[in-house]
Amino acid sequence: MALTMTRTRTQTALTKLVTLVANVHGELAFVDSQAVMLSGTSSAGKEQALLAGLARRRAQLESSRDALHTTIRQFDAELDPASIGSTDGWLKPFGRGAAGGRRYLASLVDDDQR
């Protein structure tokens, strides 16, 4: 790969970055909504483990979001990464819909127990 002095920016590169941002925004919104729903429920061990898993994932996502926002601004200082919407592409590996969401949450608990 030859590096270019002109640092050419392409629409393809921007699309890829924006997709990553939209996925992180979407996942963050889901994590937050689940945390709010769980915060009012019982303090059973399963719920507590899930809340801990959500908190850990949220911290990772915040870090990813900050890195991506900085990268987008580096790409073009006039772009506002906070205005990028969200997608549910991040859920694809777990399957769509409610079942996908449940599998995603289960993976957070599994990660926590490992």
């Binding site: 590096l3 002109t6 640092r7 970055l17 890195a67 991506l68 900085t70 990268t71």
Partner: protein
Amino acid sequence: MSSVLTRTPSDIKWLANELAAMAGEVERIDQEVKRLQARRRHLRGVQKALGAVADMLAVPQLPEVVPPVRAHAHFRERGGLFGFVRAALQAAQPKAVDTLTMADLVIAHFGLTFATPRARQRFLHDSVGRTLNRLYQRDEVERLHDPTADRHLPGIWRWKVAAPTLEKLRELSAEAGP
């Protein structure tokens, strides 16, 4: 009776001048070091963020394998040439600027030097010419020359202002009625 000094002896005056100049230079360097340290911190942060994105794109080794490249060495920063040409045309408006004059302005502003006349000619065509064409394509400048006429004549460019054309004024006048 001792006489009162009314004039500073020239050796002390010289020493005072030199001390003041040295202190000023050290102060200037300290400010520059401070500015560079802040810029370094900022760039390290951006570098870290780009590395994290490389990780997300499944190429975590990328920050380690890319060599440093001194990009934009001639024009100080990304968009340096574009920004200068744009500002120069805006400042010249309503007058036009030809490509050769613009190239001279750019060369003087950025302190560029060329090994051969051919290299200078290439810079004029490739860098300055393309930048002016980009501004034309963005509809920010108007071209006052015919690009299909004599290719050896320099192009003439003028910053575009949002003023109505004569045809538009005629249309508006006709609409308004007698």
